[in-house]
Symmetry: C2
Subunit: 391 residues, 2 copies
Amino acid sequence: MTDDDFLLLNPGPVPVREEVLAAMGEPMVSHRSADFEAVYERAQDGLDYVFECSTPDGESTSAGGTSIVLNGTATMGMEAAVANLVGDGDEVVSLVNGKFGRRFARIAERYTDEVVRVDADWGESIDVADVEAAVSDDTALVTTVHNETSTGLVNPTEAVGEVAAEHDARFVVDGVTCIGGAEFRVDDWNVDVALTDAQKAIETPPGISAMYLADGVEEHLDGESAPFYEDLDWHLRKAGQHQTPFTSAVPLFRALAVAVEGIESETMPTRIERHRRQAAAFREGFVGMGLDLFSNPDGESELSNTVTAIALPESIRGDADDFFDAVAERNVSISGGQAHLGGEIFRVSNMGSLSDEQILRGVRTVGEAMGDAGVDVDLEAGLDAAEAELE
Amino acid sequence: MTDDDFLLLNPGPVPVREEVLAAMGEPMVSHRSADFEAVYERAQDGLDYVFECSTPDGESTSAGGTSIVLNGTATMGMEAAVANLVGDGDEVVSLVNGKFGRRFARIAERYTDEVVRVDADWGESIDVADVEAAVSDDTALVTTVHNETSTGLVNPTEAVGEVAAEHDARFVVDGVTCIGGAEFRVDDWNVDVALTDAQKAIETPPGISAMYLADGVEEHLDGESAPFYEDLDWHLRKAGQHQTPFTSAVPLFRALAVAVEGIESETMPTRIERHRRQAAAFREGFVGMGLDLFSNPDGESELSNTVTAIALPESIRGDADDFFDAVAERNVSISGGQAHLGGEIFRVSNMGSLSDEQILRGVRTVGEAMGDAGVDVDLEAGLDAAEAELE
């Protein structure tokens, strides 16, 4: 691996192993064949492991549930969860402190007029007291984004889940950019539906996503209230036969089966530790060279172990093309800020089984590109700090 | 190519060329990169050709329109078209003489209470007089399936489009299992939205689909009335930048770009003629050996040039496992009937750039399997009749 190789550090799609890419090249089969059903079953078995055992000690945190694969990205999963669990007039409480939290609220507004947003500035923590004030026995559903990709902040899912459970509200959690790389606890956090995407910490090409329905939530589903393509009663019925209601994206399901088997081989505890260590190296590397973290967690929030958001220095804020161009010239792909954070921050991901050398290359690339853009950073101090975390 | 090779004759997913499969194996890039935008633009250019020039002489039948790619199969496209064009209370007239026509009606029923079905028995022709009686100036939308995959019948799209246009109703046409392999005329048939799927005559692996919006229909779209994931205003806006609103299925878009470029190289007139000739060979082959076609076109209907449906002989109807097993033992995959046609018919496709030898192998396989199942057929007569069509 030389510095000339393309290095993908976006928070999705992430780099994918050769073995996973190769799985897509097999000749086509029918999505109603036994061949395909075996692929779907392998994907479900691996997803069950990932959804249930994402703990530092590998212990299961779910008394039972069902993994299903959706032929659409995680936004479709977010919509499917909301649309099957609420009807017009039902109250939804949506936590919003980033782009994906806002997306959940916007989706909910298509299905009910009663959406209560609990807001915080993007990059700031949600106040659990605000959630307590918003959720009542009238609340049908609470939505949150566990790992907010737009800001690199982990929201207080455990505490919010307790509030939801106290009021017998369903709890849907977007774990899209953390599940497969970070701790996630289904029953301990009172999660009814957990969502992830193939193209994030699961390390599969984009196009499909996965959902875990904890036991019992199926009683609350109403597939008829949802879009036809997102009817979860139908999806669950077909998933029992290792099929999807409509045609499946056969190559992507094959890739997913290989990818989740890889996760099971590596084990979740090893992956969680790797992501924790590499995210710390990114953070310490950037801070060590003189940059500032964007997010300000307090209370029950934390910084993400899969996505790092850094404030662009004052001197290039709002006009950072030179910086981003200098990164791209080095054959590295990173992300800017989304929505009103465009021009305010940059973001890197450590999902996708990166080597420690690739993490250091990311730190070095950002430091050099800052220099090219006229920002004075101490690259060596940053690299030293990152290396110290990786040891 | 030996008889031991797996031969996929299902009406989707269809066999895919090596070059198309190989395109999926490239390393991942961001769906917001210039690299990806170039892929999407290639796919759009090729789709423009297919949607606009599907004529025996290659002439365009559209004064203009926009091709977009959806990150979901054609059922998502069917729903997106309906949901963006009607709101509650709007009247939809849906033509139903097969599974996919019924699907359109069921989708429409999720968006309005005013769905009028124009029915015919599955496999029988829709009576255009019934359509004339059903459509009025109050009709917002007419839906039809041009090539009904479940029965192998081509519906009278031109005549129905005239009725829709007379009443200024929008006209949405499912061309899923014909576009790319058969004649399709946008303006001549007054089509506002045409749908196809990657995995049918476009010869791409399943998981994504495409839509052609004729110029002017955008004024009638209301993305807010549709599911969040299917908001066509948003899709159109992003398609102008060669992007999708959410993450794109990068490998499948790459495959699609290669596949549609292959169609452009072969040209639509050549493809239409090939599909016409090979479908005739299937029909004559099966009839020649003593089997009966399932569909009974009359009036303005025709038999399909991409999908052939054959009635199972009386002696094995309802219990045709021996026949289907004998086909599978020969390493060939065909389809049974769907919904209430299960046990009544079998179906084969000639989509997917099959060779004439593969068509003849399909005829021979069915004839031999009929023999194994105790049905007396004249295989040699069938093969002779098929060969005569292929000459």
